[in-house]
Symmetry: none
DNA sequence: TATGAATGAGCTTTCATTCAT
DNA sequence: AATGAATGAAAGCTCATTCAT
């Protein structure tokens, strides 16, 4: 009778994170619905029961992933936006480049990818995301646009709608790539996207009449 | 016991459409996963078996909805974009206003709402949507931007990336509203969104140096 | 490839009862907790899913069993008690003998056996049993005792407590037999129990002083 | 950081009893099935593992509770019954009043409450209860009834069946109260129950013909 | 002694799909 | 063309029990 290997390995502190890593990988790979809790457990090298020791439900896994990943990014983005004085172009450009740099790390990109694919299914998580990210980032961004307008740097506009013009293209770019597989020939090309977008955003698409 | 005759017998050909209507309503109301085929049947006033007579699977229902709704809109948008000559601002503005007018009809809006919520779950449908809509609209739009650039109406840019700047804000606006419940105080405010966006898109956000 | 036998057999009307019969048999045999819904289905010769077509949950099976079996008996007992005039001894004796006759049918006895074993676990069912049986039988019995007392047939007593003296011995007899396996050598001996009990109940256990 | 020393260290020997106390409280509160071993541990202020050090299984907890509580009562009841000479009415009345006094202590009452609710589920425990209590008390009681009959104090009857008439009402009274929530308006009213029952038991319910 | 992280068999319930009628 | 009874695979979750520490 061969020796059975020890069943246990105590790593209480690391475990929840390991489980979350496994879940993230699988959810991105095959989607939330198609992933069984047992798969997550197997991937994390633990038993099904252990997953439920740390997370009360399968849905809590997605919640945990999003919460873990998203808050720091939001914090950073807010800090970045707020810190800059002067022309908002600098602030927005910096934040956007920072975001893009972070997103270029596939490990990091996995989360927006997941959010994009699944969040709409889970009102609970959508709400959490709104609370943790959108409700914090949007006001800061809106206020920054307002200040830029008040200071005469930006043309008059509705800041609440303008922020859709600021962020929307980035969101659509990721959606096209992740959901529909439509991306530039040289990959995600985040850098080029941002440069192209910022140029349009601030200077407009129209050829200047005086330079025409 | 005399048979109570139906007042008038529905033409059989209308049936699939009625099933699709019922499915659309329910999918939007409670989501695809939470909707049972039996619910769809009941709502359409037919039996479960009949649904399967017209559609081979539950997924085929979503497919049918998207296909039915999306192709005409794409056709129309393509025609619109292509037909305009001169400054592309006119073409893009017209298409966007047309889209927005259509989307303001809740009946029509239901479909993008559904797509937004569910399409990511179904690679099959995502692919179909890409094929039927994106692969047809994107090239036309790209080419129009290219022409505008060639003709000197538009500043130099990468048309492939620029179209994200054109469409992205609209997509984000709908997402914020539908998924996260974030919308302007006066409702969806599509008109104001489009005006604000078009102004930025073509003239930029920056105050003109010469007018400063 | 051998012919697969037809999967279906349509007997919609009989099915719920067949399922209940199977459930009753198994619950009595091995207890509620130890019986899987799948076992019930197999015993009834149907699929697991069918059970859930007629009964929303496993617990609903017990509920269904009790409800089906118990209401008619309660009805009959009430009618019996109410109908008799004169000395309540006759009424009570008749009812008790009727009950005992019914209980001697193992098919019928199965239900009290089940109630005795499981009902305490299910507040929901206990409540239903109280509502359907106890709340209907107890007032009738109490009132009968009261009338017997008013008419001078019975010595003064508290009818509410007395009915425990009337019914209790029967209950204990069944409990001893079913739960603890303690029963007279000649089996359940319901008849002898009832005669013995009725004699004590009405005439007392004490030897009459005047006959001593 | 200095260790906060426990005020006094519980003697290890008290532990099993404390665990049993916790288990009893929880089993009565929410039932055996709904109580997790971990709950018991927490309530007892020990770890889950320790419970298993003292009791080999969850079922052993119930067994321990019943065993601990029931033997002394049985012993006492047996002694009481045996000790009395003369009219068995005195013996039975005394025992019954003693029982009732004990049962009025909620701490004590908890055990019959538990037995009533759960014992039927556990053949093992039912058997133990039969062995420890019923097999010891019943013969004594039966023999006492027999002696009372032989001595001419009691009318002729079958002592084996009569003891059901003696004990049954008490059992039913507790069942109605505990399982179905049916009890006299002034609470359990054990005293009144016993007086009412003893009067019927010995003197019968019928009005004496000669006093009528 | 004492802990509590870890296990995993087991069970209820759901629902898309089938097909006899 | 139409029905709806019947199927059964599939998956989330629980919790008594174990054992490395």
């Amino acid at each position: 009778m061969p020796e059975k290997p020890p069943k246990f390995r105590r790593r209480a502190e690391a475990r929840p994170d390991e489980v979350l890593d496994a879940a993230l990988a699988l959810f991105v790979e095959r989607g939330y619905a198609a992933t069984k809790v047992e798969d997550v457990a197997r991937r994390a090298g633990v038993s099904k029961g252990l997953v439920y020791l740390y997370f009360p439900s399968k849905e809590a896994l997605i919640e945990g992933i999003v919460l873990r990943a998203v808050t720091p990014v939001a914090d950073r983005a807010i800090a970045e936006i707020s810190s800059f004085e002067g022309h908002p172009r600098t602030a927005i450009s910096t934040v956007m480049r920072f975001l893009v740099m972070r997103l270029s790390d596939p490990q990091v990109m996995a989360v927006p990818r997941l959010i994009m694919r699944e969040v709409a299914q889970f009102p609970h998580i959508a709400e959490m995301y709104r609370r943790e990210v959108l409700d914090r980032v949007i006001p800061v961004l809106r206020e920054r646009l307002q200040r830029g307008m008040d200071a005469g740097y930006l043309r008059p506009h509705d800041p609440d709608l303008t922020l859709r013009s600021v962020i929307g293209p980035l969101v659509l770019h990721v959606m096209l790539a992740e959901i529909f597989g439509i991306r530039p020939e040289d990959g995600l090309a985040f850098d080029r996207l941002v440069e192209n977008h910022l140029s349009i955003l601030f200077d407009g698409l129209s050829a200047r009449e005086d330079t025409k």
